[in-house]
């Protein structure tokens, strides 16, 4: 399921391991964060990688994660975050 999110929405990255060229790094799969901004629509790079045209374009979001939520033993400050660019088809509402 994919949704149209707005900044501030809580989302969870889909935890899946499909084969092929994927632009969602393993470390962020299954993690919960907040939509920071909508970056626009781009041809899907997971299709472009195989010579397809990447249409329909996918909405790309910038999602902000608390480092403590990503790495349980994170040693830095509570306020530290990591922002990751994630396509809509990798996100579910949290």
């Amino acid at each position: 399921m994919t949704g149209s999110f707005t900044p501030g929405d809580r989302v969870r990255v889909i935890r899946a391991h499909p084969p092929g060229h994927r632009r969602t790094p393993y470390y962020i799969r299954g993690k919960e964060g907040v939509i920071e901004r909508i970056c626009g629509a781009f041809p899907n790079p997971e299709e472009l990688a195989y010579g397809f045209d990447g249409r329909p374009a996918k909405t790309l979001y910038r999602v902000r994660f608390r480092q403590k939520d990503v790495w349980p033993d994170y040693a830095g400050a509570e306020i530290d975050t990591v922002d990751v660019d994630i396509y809509e088809h990798w996100l579910n509402p949290a």
């Binding site: 969602t24 790094p25 790309l60 910038r62 400050a77 530290d80 922002d83 660019d85």
Partner: protein
């Protein structure tokens, strides 16, 4: 320098009178698969008249001309012109176009350092980098060591670069993975009041715009 090849004398490379480039032996190892494919593609394109050898040379020359000095000019303008700063943060591509810079298809996203937030850039999947404004990425940016560790322990990595971020200032890592290219807008340092844009640009280094250093007035 024609007869200077065998100079095995001791000398100091800091000596400006002795300014040949550092010697690097030619790579004589057999080409890898990708090198062979690249060379085959280049030869075919030239042979079929799609591109000329001069087109390829000129394209490489253009890539080599990309340099962090462009990014530094943009940062200096943002420090001295608040309206430009706002445009830069709102739409990086449009602001870069004011400098005649074509960012290609990538969306340039400028993230601003403040007293509350320090930004640092990485691409954990490969080596996405804002080449149009910073040139080619340094080797450490592409290294697995940096890419693997800066998302997990950014404060420790920054300390290795000589940058200590206090705990009440958030470290915000940006993993540049797909269609965005990030540029850090550093904080203008104290002691630079009245400086010209050119002077300011002179202290904005590549590393400041990747977020592993902060500009310092000399």
């Amino acid at each position: 320098m024609a007869d200077d090849r065998d100079h095995d004398h001791d000398h100091d490379h800091a000596n400006p009178l002795h300014n040949h480039p550092p010697l690097q032996p030619d790579d004589e190892s057999p080409p890898g698969r990708h090198e062979v494919m690249t060379e085959a593609m280049r030869e075919l394109l030239v042979e079929k008249g799609v591109l000329s050898a001069d087109d390829i040379r000129a394209a490489l020359e253009n890539i080599d001309s990309w340099a962090p000095s462009k990014g530094a000019q943009i940062v200096a303008r943002a420090w001295t012109d608040d309206a430009f700063r706002k445009r830069l943060l709102a739409d990086g591509n449009a602001a870069l176009a004011e400098f005649g810079i074509d960012s290609g298809g990538a969306k340039v996203t400028v993230v601003e350092n403040t007293d509350r937030v320090h930004n640092v850039i990485v691409c954990t999947l490969c080596s996405c980098y804002p080449r149009a404004v910073l040139g080619l990425p340094p080797d450490w940016y592409r290294s697995k060591n940096y890419r693997r560790r800066v998302v997990v322990e950014p404060r420790a990595v920054l300390e290795e670069f000589g940058l200590r971020v206090p705990d009440d200032r958030a470290v915000r890592v940006h993993d540049s993975l797909a269609d965005l290219r990030y540029l850090v807008l550093p904080r203008r340092p104290e002691g630079t009041d009245g400086w010209t844009e050119e002077q300011l640009a002179g202290i904005v280094t590549r590393d400041c715009m990747v977020g592993v250093a902060e500009p310092r007035p000399e």
